[in-house]
Amino acid sequence: MLRTQIRRYSVKDIPFEAVPRNRYNQSRSAFNFKPKATPGLVHNPSHAIFQPSQRTPRAFLPPSDPRLKLKDVLSMSREDVEECPLIYNASQREYDLTPEIVSEIVELRTQDPATWTVGKLAKKFGIEQHKVNVLTATVSKERKTQLEGELNDIKTKWSRNKLKGRNDRSKRKQMWLRNEF
């Protein structure tokens, strides 16, 4: 039934419109941009962050590399760099720890790790906590296993959602270190 109806219907009866007609006029609209090609060679870098495998930073190129002769289009001026706020500065590394202080810290931590916690030692000697951590990492293995046990006890009380959240967080951190998204 339907098939015969379709067959009888001539194509010529249907009005032809190459472009749908509506209130928006395509040819006269102000949004009617036409691409205009720039003559000659154009540098059109990717809008994404450069993958390290695509481009070696200029500072890491050996002096014999011919890429050093190319025009440096990507680097910023020194003023622009200095306007960006600093997160970490390697020149702020301090070497004020003497062997005497180190041995004293290690001794205190070995004698009584419960009283001389990392935080207390850092406060006493006026240094950062992670430095104390690095210095005394190997001295008290018993204390370390004890703390790990305590942490595991706390973890057993965590809800399933919290545990999942913490696990996901550590997995995400590993992804940063692999340059994965």
Binding site: F60, P66, S91
Partner: protein
């Protein structure tokens, strides 16, 4: 499982004392007696009188020509005319001193393996001279490890010979057919019923389980050795240049995502040490280039690693820590994944190519101690 394995080998060594002779095996310290070599001697303590009476021979070329599988494989791999079909058949034979007395592929695959490791190493070292050792080893393994070679062998269309003598007889299959298949199974193994997805380790396979409790099936090993042996055979017939071209076409042309093989543990420390080693006058600085929505649920930060005004790397993250870590990892990978080019912008010449100059090659500075 490992303890079991050790116990078994120890027990076997003790039983060896009573048998007629010792033969130094491929492994270093353990001498194993191999009865298949049919060793004869006049006096047990007179080692000079020891003689293997095993007889091996190569498959006649006329028999090999009757095997359609060999001819198909030969033309599929586009091997040169000089490459004999009997050598191809030998490359597919992994059976040690089998009942048919045919020469196996041990020598050919050793030769092929050495050629493969040389050309793979040469290519990788020239392509990425600064790769850390661990990544380099992983990359070599990804190019020419057993699993990869087995995959290549399967894609070449090599079949495993699973047809037992009885099935062979009942199906009235021509005798020459089996010489075109990968032969590594013993006759009794062929008759065992196999359940899909279930794999029972045999006595020999139990002994091959290594210290990491990793196990590579015999089939994978056989495929890999066949691929290596085909390459070894190519060298014996047509020489080095054709073999090199074959390796470049079949092995090194595969895409290898070296940038996905990195995993840093302390990236900031590593970058600072690296820049110390490179002797930059300016210190390493991590700076915030852009940010949006700091007080929103989905903040975005863009951080950059700088030395002076030179940007080493850039990273995006939803926290300052993430952006910073990503920027540093990006910078480190920018250093390690450096690939040299020559003055005309082409890939540099390999040491095995004519016109290679050592002075023009880029030499990596070695790993950084954190």
């Amino acid at each position: 499982m490992l303890r079991q394995v050790i116990k078994r080998t120890a027990a076997k060594n003790i039983s060896l004392v009573r048998t007629s002779g010792y033969v130094a095996s491929r492994s270093y310290h353990v001498t194993k007696f191999d009865s298949r070599l049919k060793t004869e001697y006049q006096l047990l303590t007179d080692y000079s009188s020891y003689k293997h009476t095993i007889y091996t021979h190569r498959l006649p070329e006329s028999t090999a020509e009757q095997c359609p599988l060999l001819i198909a494989l030969h033309s599929r791999l586009n091997l040169p005319k000089e490459y004999q079909l009997s050598t191809l058949s030998q490359a597919l034979n992994m059976q040690q001193f089998g009942s048919d007395g045919l020469a196996n592929n041990f020598g050919l695959s050793t030769l092929g393996k050495n050629l493969l490791s040389y050309y793979t190493c040469e290519y990788l070292v020239m392509q990425y001279p600064r790769l850390p050792m661990a990544v380099h080893n992983t990359a070599v393994d990804a190019y020419m490890g057993k699993l990869t070679l087995a995959e290549i062998g399967k894609s070449w269309g090599i079949e495993v010979d699973t047809v037992s003598k009885l099935q062979h007889f009942l199906s009235q299959e021509p005798e020459a057919m089996k010489y075109g298949r990968l032969r590594f199974q013993l006759e009794e193994e062929k008759n065992t019923v196999k359940e899909d997805g279930v794999y029972e380790l045999s006595q020999v396979e139990m002994e091959s389980v290594d210290t990491n409790n990793e196990f590579i099936p015999k089939e994978i090993e056989a495929y890999a050795s066949a691929v290596q042996a085909v390459i070894g055979g190519l060298y014996t017939h047509v020489g080095e240049n054709a073999t090199k071209a074959f390796i470049h076409d079949h092995i090194l042309s595969r895409k290898l995502p070296v940038d996905k093989m990195f995993q840093f543990s302390k990236p900031t420390r590593e970058l600072v040490r690296l820049c110390d080693k490179l002797g930059f006058t300016d210190p390493v600085e991590l700076r915030l280039i852009a940010e949006t929505g700091r007080l929103s649920a989905h903040a975005v930060y863009v951080a950059g690693a700088f030395v002076g005004k030179e940007k080493l790397g850039e990273g995006v993250g939803s926290s300052l820590k993430e952006a910073k870590t990503r920027a540093v990892v990006n910078a480190l990978m920018g250093y390690y994944l450096y690939s040299p080019i020559d003055q005309d912008g082409n890939e540099p010449k390999l040491p095995s190519e004519a016109g290679y100059v050592f002075e023009e090659a880029s030499v990596g500075g070695g790993d950084v101690a954190i």
